[in-house]
């Protein structure tokens, strides 16, 4: 009977003694059986203890960011302008059935996986930051933004714009602003602001290409594809491949993006035209990625990511500095061929003469 009490993880009777009792000729059948059950239970509990220990270590490692682990939290603003709103989907939970919520969740996952697999980056801050998104923001709201700590997405007005969660590259674009803020922290104004925007387009497009397993030559290089309704004469908000050709519509106007420095737009609007002039470094990336061939993230993407993390990329960097750093990085990481391809790409957009 005494043996039945031995259920503690820290058993009073040591295992070697239970082993002996289970085999002892002197013990009765019940006693031997009880000893065997206790031994088996002890083994189970010891295994559980090892697993629990490992789990605790993993949780702590996840918490301190040493093990990459997605932690997505999606909220709904219920069409108010207050965020984050009400939590509607968290990590490992089932689909909600609400398209915006599920698109946000899935695209966060695709973006996290891209950074982790390709760059071994653990979330936006590289220490496992939670990915937080709020959908259904405002009424007929035509925008998506990064507020410095989370993403916010509108449903669109349904007239010209569909919901902003429809395009993976838009969600990845907003998340990339998070990566930039935790690395180069480029000032959101003028050329550094346009570089900030361009980096979000570049990484946003690469996330989509990676998700679709597309080679650079096969990708559409469009940003915001599918967000326009059928009423709009246009394919997307921006084209990295052919800046200035994404839309030409009576209601929205004509895509103003330049493809070359000689067309650089000087303006005080939009933080100095960050959403217009970002097309110049965007196009340089497209030219390099397609010149190198293969997948965009294999070489061109790695060069861009390495430069993003370089201390030499100062907060107020301009296009020329970024171009110089990417050319140097191409030479350092790969060699003459890649260096020349990078140089040629920047020459074609007029940043380097």
């Amino acid at each position: 009977m005494m043996l039945k009490k031995v259920h503690s993880l820290c058993g009073i009777i040591p295992p070697y003694m239970l082993e002996s009792i289970s085999k002892a000729e002197l013990a009765n059948v019940e006693g031997r059986a009880a000893a065997r059950r206790t031994l088996a239970l002890t083994a189970v509990l010891q295994t559980k203890r090892r697993i629990d220990g490992a789990r605790i270590s993993r949780v702590m490692a996840v918490k301190d960011g040493s093990i990459p682990h997605k932690n997505r939290r999606i909220y709904t603003c219920n069409n108010s302008e207050s965020y984050p709103g009400t939590l509607v989907r968290s990590e490992d939970s089932d689909r909600s059935g609400d398209a915006a919520i599920d698109e946000c969740y899935e695209s966060f996952g695709a973006t996290f996986d891209f950074y982790q697999k390709i760059f071994e980056r653990n979330s936006l801050d590289n220490t496992g930051m939670d990915l937080i998104g709020s959908v259904h923001y405002g009424k007929s709201y035509n925008n998506a933004f990064w507020n410095g700590s989370q993403m916010i997405f509108g449903d669109g007005d349904g007239i010209y714009f569909n919901r902003f969660t429809q395009a993976l590259e838009v969600i990845a674009h907003e998340l990339a602003h998070g990566v930039t803020s935790y690395t180069a922290d480029l000032e959101y104004e003028g050329q550094s602001g346009a570089l900030n925007e361009s980096l979000s387009d570049v990484f946003g497009s690469m996330v989509k290409q990676h998700h679709l397993k597309q080679r650079a030559a096969d990708a559409d290089w469009l940003i915001g594809k599918g967000i326009f309704t059928n009423l709009v004469q246009g394919v997307a908000f921006r084209s990295m491949k052919a800046p200035g050709t994404a839309y030409n519509d009576p209601h929205l106007g004509k895509d103003p993006q330049p493809a070359h420095m000689k067309e650089f737009i000087h303006t005080t609007e939009d933080n100095g035209g960050v959403h217009k002039n970002c097309s110049i470094p965007n196009h340089a990336f497209y030219l390099l990625a397609t010149a190198l061939g293969g997948y965009s993230w294999e070489k061109a993407g790695r060069i861009w990511y390495a430069v993003l993390r370089q201390p030499e990329l100062v907060k107020n960097a301009d296009f020329v500095l970024f171009a110089k750093l990417t050319c140097e990085m191409a030479l350092k990481m790969y060699g003459e061929t890649e260096h020349n391809a990078a140089l040629n790409a920047w020459k074609q957009v007029g940043v380097i003469n």
Binding site: Y83, N142, F145, N147, E197, L252
Partner: protein
């Protein structure tokens, strides 16, 4: 009174959607004229600071609303980043932006 509203910034730039929308209340029907002038008054547009709020540090793609009121020689401009928490100013913006959509 001439009131101009502009949505600046955001994920994308669209020349027509982002263009300033101007309304001269003297050219409006009495009811609409009174409505706008009342909203301007209730929002204390003439008295509030030029930069009511700015996007948070590290933020990107945040829209900023710019309202300019002109009455004779008096001109005042107010900038407010989204979300606009000033209820009266939000009402004015809402009215002006809906009106410009129509």
């Amino acid at each position: 009174m001439i009131v101009t509203v502009q949505v600046d910034g955001g994920f994308a730039f669209f020349p027509k959607l982002n263009a300033p929308q101007t309304v001269d209340t003297e050219r409006l029907p009495a009811e609409e004229k009174n409505r706008i002038e009342t909203l301007v008054k209730e929002a204390h547009v003439w008295d509030i600071s030029e930069v009511l709020s700015e996007p948070p540090r590290h933020a990107a793609d945040v829209q900023t609303f710019v309202v300019t009121v002109r009455d004779g020689d008096r001109v005042h401009q107010v900038r407010a980043a989204e979300p606009v928490t000033d209820v009266a100013l939000a009402s004015l913006l809402d009215f002006l932006l809906k009106r410009s959509d129509e």
